[in-house]
Amino acid sequence: MPPKPRTSEAVTKPPTILASSIVIAETAALTGTFPIKIGANTVIHPRAKLTSAHGPITIGEYCIICERTQISPPDAEGLVIGDGTVVEVNALVEGSVGAGSVVEVGNCKLGPLTKVLEGEVIEDNTVIFGSGQRRIDASGTMDARRRLLERHIESLRILIPSNPSKFMN
């Protein structure tokens, strides 16, 4: 028996608005029907999954979306990831994330709180680390961290071969 042809929904490219200076790996997966907007200087690692099947995704500037993360808005209101956010390996994001935050999950499946659940809004400068521990960074060193992040993105720019044309339409 020949393999079943894939449903056409899975292969439809979502409408994307990509800034020219982004780094997006070829193996990243952008699926869905709602628009996906990615701001300038953002890095999408290989095998990151952005699914806009239920709502639009907006990612700000200077973000890093690491591999195996899943970003999927739960409803048509969509999901916004603010500027300077780092979403680390294996995180699941279903709610909006404020600017300058880090969503960092080592072992996403284990800790139930390591997920950013549906409709949840993470405030600016929140850090989610360890097994679901959260804290709001109050040190006022945002500028310093932003500079570190920019250097991080510059180094990733060299390391990750970018292919934005694959996701253009």
């Binding site: 804290r135 709001i136 040190s139 006022g140 060193t141 961290r145």
Partner: protein, 617 residues
């Protein structure tokens, strides 16, 4: 299934170190190192044993401390004995910082403490290591300590550094409380005697324990450890100056004060504040006696600390420290804001010595960056390794063994030595414990090949291959006295286990205790492994004499953790299986009657009752 069952990992093989008998100063004879831990009263049948060995009981309370996995054990070549972590002696080779790998001299450790004095700090929130990050434009200062994991930074507690080097000194300068800076100039008042008047007036009689009462003002104010240290230091300097040339202070006052320091800890007349300040003590007994308490006890808020409660209201639950964060800090802060960066704890490299003969068993290279060992006498290189698996490869469920049905396990013995070994396995027919399992080793005596180089076997001519003549049970079916399978330096034999039927959990006996505890459900089989081999005699000049062979023998007890007995009653199918093999236990009766299977008893068993007991294929 109950969630705690998932914590089991079966099968396990533990080896008993004989050191719980005693650490012999003179090495015991290698022929009899067997370690009976607890006497077994029902062991009256050991007629074939001239050396009366008792069965090792894995459930005896002392066995807990003598059982180790093989990879935790060392081996002393001089005593010819296993050495466990309890019977080796540790010696520190060097101290080093795990963060910067800088070696710290032991004299520096004594003076500066066991923490890195360079730029190594760990995060007070998540204990990851901190990096020095610039906050100014470009790479310019001021600098902060930043945690890359949880983004905590020293700016959160208001600390920034002017330069990126010698952070420790800068931090110490910044953390110095203003009170301390003031105190260095003002003359000290001792915490022991707040009014440093003539000390004799405080200590009227020499013999009686002294009541030391700091005034209440002093009591209320919590001193920082640094302050306390400086105060004490100055106090003793003052006392020494007062004592004049005599170092030990011949004046009665000085002496009684010193006595009071120690005796006071036990006497009821001790002041509360002093003990509390030390941190290890607290006065919770109520009788005025100081008691040792754990660091991680609940830190109470007393009635007079209302401002603390106000502060907690202000910062909320998230602003308070958790237990780990609190006890890692010297001053045990209650609030996140009071946390300090933790200087990295130094680590050590250690060498290990045999306690009996003082020979070195493990000696690492002294440089922290070098991970090699100069001497490493691990037991794995001297003692045959045991491993367990199920005979039926599809049955991998070790945590629910069906009661009253026969389970077959494969026991593989791997030889690490360069000489072939003769192995004799012995096990009690019934395992020790209230609910004994029946155990049979089908082939208790066999040979395991030498651990030669892998290519050597290939180079050997086909003519002298002894392995081919040995019958393998794998091919012929399960026969008594036949090994299951064998290879270059390993041999596999079959063990049959019939677990007992246990009362259900929750079933209580007459005395109200549970009839079968969780511990009774574990099938633990003590197996005595006796290894005999001939090796080239080591001559005095260090060379090996080719003609002189020396016979060596080594015996040790190991405990096989085969699994856990299921709570489920045996089902019909299992009964069928037991019924079909009803003849088998009959043939085993003679063996079982001997109590210890395998000590010589298996020879005639093999010749007399060579029945195809259970053919698998």
């Amino acid at each position: 299934m109950a969630p705690h069952l998932t914590t089991y990992s079966f099968p396990t093989v533990h080896i008993s170190c004989p050191c719980d008998e005693s650490i012999a100063i003179t090495p015991k004879s290698p022929t009899k190192p067997g370690a009976p831990a607890a006497p077994e009263e029902d062991l009256d049948e050991s007629e074939e044993e001239e050396e009366e060995e008792e069965t090792f009981d894995p459930r005896a309370p002392r066995s807990n401390f003598s059982l180790f996995p093989l990879d935790n054990l060392l081996y002393c070549e001089d005593c010819k004995q296993i050495r466990c972590p309890r019977c080796v002696h540790d010696e520190i080779v060097c101290f080093f910082c795990p963060n910067c790998l800088f070696e710290v001299a032991s004299s520096t450790v004594k003076t500066d403490g066991n923490r890195c004095t360079r730029n190594c700090f760990s995060c007070p929130i998540c204990f990851a290591s901190l990096v020095v990050a610039p906050t100014g434009e470009g790479q310019a200062g001021p600098y902060i300590l930043l945690c890359n994991h949880c983004l905590w930074s020293s700016a959160e507690i208001g600390i920034e550094f002017e330069k990126p080097t010698s952070i420790t000194t800068q931090l110490a300068e910044k953390l110095k409380p203003p009170a301390l800076a003031r105190a260095t100039t003002v003359s000290f008042t001792s915490p022991l005697s707040p009014v440093s008047a003539s000390s004799e007036s405080y200590f009227p009689s020499m013999g009686a324990p002294t009541i030391i009462t700091p005034d209440d003002e002093e009591d209320k104010k919590e001193l920082s450890p640094e302050e306390r240290f400086l105060r004490l230091k100055a106090h003793y300097a003052q006392q020494r100056a007062g004592a004049g040339t005599d170092e030990y202070g011949s004046s009665p006052g000085a002496l009684s004060r010193l006595m009071g320091l120690y005796s006071g800890l036990g006497s009821g007349s001790r002041s509360r504040s002093f003990g509390r300040g030390i941190g290890g003590f607290s006065n919770v007994g109520g009788k005025g006696k100081l008691e040792w308490t754990e660091w991680d006890t609940v830190k109470e808020i007393r009635d007079d600390e209302e401002e603390l409660i106000e502060r907690i209201k202000e910062v909320g639950f998230l602003g308070t420290t958790n237990k780990e964060q609190r006890i890692a800090q010297n001053h045990q802060p209650r609030f996140i804001r009071d946390l300090r960066p933790l200087a990295a704890l130094l680590r050590t490299k250690r060498s290990k010595r045999c306690r009996a003969c003082r020979h070195i068993l493990v000696k690492p290279e002294s440089k922290p960056t070098n991970i090699r060992f100069r001497i490493k006498l691990v037991a794995m290189n001297y003692i045959p390794a045991l491993s367990i698996s199920r005979l039926d490869p599809t049955a991998f469920n070790y945590i629910a063994l069906t009661p009253l049905s026969t389970h077959q396990f494969l026991l593989t013995i791997t030889n690490p030595l360069f000489d072939p070994i003769n192995v004799t396995l012995a096990t009690p027919a019934k395992t020790p414990g209230r609910y004994p399992s029946t155990v049979t080793i089908l082939c208790p005596t066999f040979e395991v090949g030498a651990n030669t180089e892998v290519w050597e076997e290939a180079l050997q001519t086909i003519a002298n291959q002894p392995a081919a003549t040995i019958k393998k049970g794998r091919k012929t079916g399960m026969l008594i006295g036949t090994v299951w399978d064998l290879g270059r330096n390993w041999t596999t034999v079959v063990i049959e286990v019939v677990p007992p039927l246990l009362p259900l959990p929750g079933e209580l006996g007459e005395d109200g205790n549970e009839l079968a505890t969780e511990d009774d459900r574990l099938v633990q089989i003590p197996v005595s492994v006796r290894v005999v081999y001939e090796t080239d005699l080591e001559r005095d000049d260090g060379g090996l004499g080719k003609e002189a062979k020396e016979k060596r023998e080594h015996t040790y007890w190991s405990v096989l953790g085969l699994g856990r007995i299921s709570e489920k009653m045996p089902t019909k199918t299992v009964e069928d299986a037991a019924g079909s093999s009803a003849a088998r236990p009959m043939s085993l009766v003679s063996v079982a009657g001997k109590g210890v299977v395998g000590r010589g008893g298996a020879g005639e068993e093999a010749s007399g009752g060579r029945v195809n007991r259970h053919s698998v294929r």
